[in-house]
């Protein structure tokens, strides 16, 4: 494999890793609120968070590009604070990917929180655990399969995204040229061998990830004990 291909692999892995960590940080409180709240606006927020799941990535990418552009107030604010704008940068990719992959992390974590039910948290409360304490010592450990699924899906989805990256990141080697863009590039320039290597690698990677997740879930499966 050429250095250019390794660059794309490394960039994609770095992006996916950073996005996954950020996803867990952002998705956990959202998932907790969606699972526990009785607020009437919760389904509205739930639908908003899920939007990236159904929108064409180009639509999301387009709006993000508009929002981050140097002409928009948000884009100007970001440029003023960080000294540079988001479009066509690695940081821009990170932000866009977090938004784009959010439903993939929120949904499994929310389902896991909902599956716990009220009882373990009530038990924790009667055993002197504050809500914050119970969240970390009871809810999070019991929702571990959901966190695992959220992290894996978020990671895999970030690795595989194309449309949003193309819109907001462009095609800058070492900065925004991730695997999916590289494959597209190779195909466009008729370098079929390189495209084959990367595409087959992605295929194998995705399969292994899904299989591993399923197996780990099974081993962790303590959903049986009440």
């Amino acid at each position: 494999m050429s250095g250019e291909m390794w660059d794309a692999v490394w960039l994609t892995a770095t992006l996916a890793a950073i996005v996954t960590v950020l996803l867990l940080v952002v998705a956990t409180p959202i998932a907790w609120w969606l699972a526990r709240s009785r607020s009437p606006v919760k389904e509205v927020v739930g639908a908003l968070v899920t939007l990236p799941l159904v929108l064409p990535p180009t639509v999301l990418g387009f709006y993000l590009l508009v929002a981050f552009s140097p002409n928009s107030p948000l884009g100007q604010g970001i440029a003023a604070v960080f000294g540079q704008g988001l479009p066509f940068t690695f940081e821009g990719l990170v932000v866009a990917s977090v938004i784009h992959s959010l439903p993939f992390a929120v949904q499994p974590i929310r389902n896991a929180f909902e599956a716990i039910g009220d009882r373990p948290l009530e038990v924790a409360a009667t055993l002197r655990a504050s809500p914050w304490d119970a969240f970390w010592t009871v809810a999070v450990p019991l929702a571990r399969p959901g966190f695992l699924a959220g992290a894996v899906l978020g990671f895999a989805h970030t690795v595989g995204e194309f449309g949003v990256v193309l819109m907001i990141g462009g095609n800058i080697p070492g900065e925004t040229k991730v695997l999916s863009i590289a494959i597209y590039d190779y195909v466009e320039t008729l370098q079929w061998t390189q495209a084959h290597i990367l595409a087959a690698g992605m295929l194998g990677f995705s399969f292994v990830v899904l299989l591993a997740m399923r197996l780990i879930e099974k081993r962790l499966g303590w959903g049986t004990g009440r």
Binding site: P120, V123, A125, R128, P141, R144, W222, T224
Partner: protein, 380 residues
């Protein structure tokens, strides 16, 4: 440590979902208080309100000198209330080992409140063999014992138990009941015990809160309420009286013990503790008959014949009458129920105020204070 609370005063009034609660009661914060009533009468809701798991805006709750709720102004959140809560299902944390479950509350208890030690609870509840087993393989009864231990180790000043035996089979129930009786005798923690099983109540309770349609219909000592003409307990087919007694002498030859109850003495079959120790006896109304004159010695096979005074009577059905009695010729003793035919009532010319004799055909020792470790264990 804060002084032991003297009384528990509760008034929970309002609507929770579709259920209307209007429960007001004051009970001594001592011994076991049973919240008793049919399913759906609000017992569990009351218990949840005491723990702070459910919140009624109109609720008032005082435990001793501590105010846990006063309307909407004061509401101590559940994790700041020194209660132990045992749910119907054991609800052990599946991600923690048995010892970690037991220590969950202990680690979080206030620094000054460490009167109940880990080893003591393990001994009391027979948990030794369970400590190194995964929570998932424990039986229902074992799980519930761990849950009770976990609640006790959180160093509660009030123990709340929500039908802790109802999810268990007969066998596991009989396994746990002696442990509960031991707890009652060994630990000085007041207990609120929700139950719809009168047999459990007869065995465990000192005080009774009789619940009906979300209201506390009657509150008082168990024996007084069981023989209260105004309450449905005395009208049950299995109406009985439960008396707290004290062992006076043991007759090993016949396997009988002589016990004293307020206003009389009884001969009771079965194993009792040492002379001077407390026990509890249960006398079914249908096992008590009345006679004007006491039969002389060696004239009747019935051993227990007690002077009583008739306080009242009420027809139970077409042919039976439930008679309300007080022990002692002066009628100053404990209450007792008799169930006789209406014909006998008329033939004997009985009436309230008369002094007669109660012939007690059967007295059962309610297994209480017996040593659970002496029981056959289910060891392999």
């Amino acid at each position: 440590m804060t002084a032991k609370p003297a009384t528990l005063t509760a008034a929970f009034v309002g609507r929770l979902g579709t259920f209307h609660l209007d429960a007001r009661f004051e009970v001594p914060a001592k011994g076991i208080t049973a919240l008793f009533g049919p399913s759906g009468c609000g017992k569990t809701t009351v218990l949840r309100c005491v723990a702070g798991l459910s919140r009624l805006p109109e609720g008032v709750l005082r435990v001793g000198r501590d105010v846990w709720q006063d309307g909407a102004r004061v509401f101590v959140p559940p994790h700041r209330r020194p209660v132990g809560y045992v749910f119907q299902e054991a609800s052990l944390f599946p991600h923690l080992s048995v010892p970690a479950n037991l220590r969950f509350g202990q680690r979080r208890a206030a620094a000054g409140d460490h009167a109940i030690a880990f080893d003591e609870v393990v001994d009391l509840l027979g948990l030794g063999r369970l400590l190194d087993r995964p929570t998932a393989v424990l039986s229902g009864g074992e799980r519930q014992r761990v849950a009770i231990g976990r609640a006790l180790l959180s160093q509660p000043r009030l123990l709340l138990m929500d039908e802790p035996l109802s999810a268990l089979d007969r066998f596991s129930k009989d396994d746990i009941l002696p442990y509960l009786e031991t707890l009652h005798d060994a630990l000085d923690i007041p207990v609120l015990y929700v139950s719809h099983d009168i047999a459990e109540v007869e065995r465990l309770a000192d005080t009774l809160v009789l619940m009906e349609h979300g209201r506390a219909k009657a509150v008082g000592p168990l024996s007084a309420l069981m023989a209260d003409p105004a309450l449905p307990l005395a009208r049950l087919p299995e109406a009985a009286e439960v008396l707290d007694a004290r062992v006076e002498a043991r007759d090993e030859t016949y396997g009988l013990a002589s016990v004293s109850v307020p206003g009389g003495h009884l001969l009771v079959p079965g194993r009792v503790g040492a002379v001077g120790s407390p026990c509890r006896v249960r006398i079914l109304a249908s096992d008590v008959s009345l006679t004007r004159d006491a039969p002389g010695p060696a004239q009747s096979s019935i051993l227990n014949v007690l002077p009583v005074r008739i306080v009242g009577a009420e027809p139970t059905d077409a042919h039976l009458v439930t008679v309300f009695l007080h022990l002692g010729a002066d009628g100053q003793g404990a209450p007792l129920l008799a169930r006789i035919t209406r014909k006998s009532w008329d033939l004997l010319g009985l009436a309230a105020g008369q002094a007669v004799h109660a012939q007690v055909k059967g007295v059962a020792l309610v297994e209480r204070g017996s040593d659970p470790t002496a029981k056959d264990e289910d060891t392999p």
